[in-house]
Symmetry: C2
Subunit: 235 residues, 2 copies
């Protein structure tokens, strides 16, 4: 499957992802506490939406599994809206078997409230504790299940970005991790630009300059496809 | 101050809030857990923004203290953006002394994480607990501090709406509570329409039909000002 991706990349028609199915997850998830309150994060969905637009322009059948964001849907892209980590997992699994490339940009909640209250909780005097349980790790689940799929994860970190990204790559059995430092002003959640390092499982490392998320989206696909081609000669 | 409000209401120029300062809070708050995660709620800010627009059209100097929402700012309204319950409290207190009417529509977090982590928390195996502490109750603080201000609160409930609203009115020393059932499809968070009951501290009760939040905003001010005028004759 990777070989055929690479072949396609060097077709003169410049639609390297033609005939391929690309699944991209984007945005935050919301984990409900009660009917009005929830846990979430600052993910804007911009990087994932830019990747979906790029994949579509490169010729792919593109499925965007999106948490709640306020962004226009890129033309030609099929969107599935989800709310929670569990909803996102189910939507991705539904498309996984016949996907060629899966890019997991979504900032999925690691924890959800253990108990979801059906009615609005009344406040009480004093402190409280919210009991949390782990959600299913989507990237790890996909890493365990993958057969032919190229699996690309994102790591949004605030410290020791590359160290965590390399650990994540190995632990999750992903093919690539795109690591970014979300504490940078010009990078991460909500910004229109991003500064990332692409790390491959064969110690491949490519540092991208700061650029718009739209530009970066296309360059990420191009760099990954070119590297996959290089790997063919090595193997 | 109330007397002068009522006088103004029956001026032929139909700008019953001219010369008055109206402070409105709107939207949700976000309570950070770490640099990327936070606790929040489904408040869209639509009711508060509609009330700010109505107050401005009725002639008031209008201050809108807004949590993070994605709504256009009504023209003529001064907006102060805040993120957390504490930020909202400080902004409201700053404007409270010389305010004539304060309408608290914001869905302010009752609890915030007791510890805010400076770096993104790494997930660990197994369950976790999030320790929470109470935020300052803004409506109660204003109720204790008020001298001449007309204080109007909102109660978004999922059950026993009127019972909770009447309790809130007394406990918070508010003049009016606008109660709505956020489980109704045509009412509450995110919808463009609302179905509410206005409850006054003198057992005044007015049920509004379901209508757009923009229409309701004007009708709420009109109903409250007319009732304040009635109270003058009773006293």
């Amino acid at each position: 499957k990777i070989v055929s991706l690479v072949d396609a990349f060097f077709q003169p028609k410049e639609l390297p992802l033609k005939g391929k199915k690309v699944v991209i997850t984007a945005g935050p998830t919301r984990e409900r506490i009660d009917p009005v309150r929830f846990l979430t994060n600052f993910s804007s969905g911009k990087m994932g939406y830019a990747l979906a637009e790029a994949a579509n322009k490169l010729g792919a059948e593109t499925i965007l599994v999106s948490g709640p964001v306020s962004l226009p849907i890129p033309s030609g892209v099929t969107v599935e809206h989800v709310e929670s980590a569990e909803g996102m997992l189910q939507a991705v699994l539904h498309h996984f078997d016949d996907a060629d490339i899966v890019v997991k940009t979504a900032a999925v909640a690691d924890y959800r409230p253990k108990y979801v209250h059906e009615q609005k909780m009344k406040k009480q005097a004093g402190d409280a504790t919210l009991e949390l349980e782990r959600t299913t790790d989507i990237l790890m689940t996909l890493g365990q299940k993958k057969t032919h799929q190229l699996l690309i994860g994102f790591a949004a970190e605030t410290n020791d970005v590359e160290m965590y990204a390399k650990g994540k790559l190995a632990k999750k059995n992903a093919d690539y991790i795109v690591a970014n430092d979300v504490t940078r002003e010009d990078s991460g959640f909500g910004t229109d630009t991003n500064t990332v390092v692409l790390i491959g499982k064969d110690n491949f490392e490519h540092h991208f300059d700061n650029m718009s998320k739209k530009q970066l989206a296309t360059k990420l696909f191009e760099t990954i496809l070119a590297h996959e081609e290089d790997l063919q000669y090595v193997r």
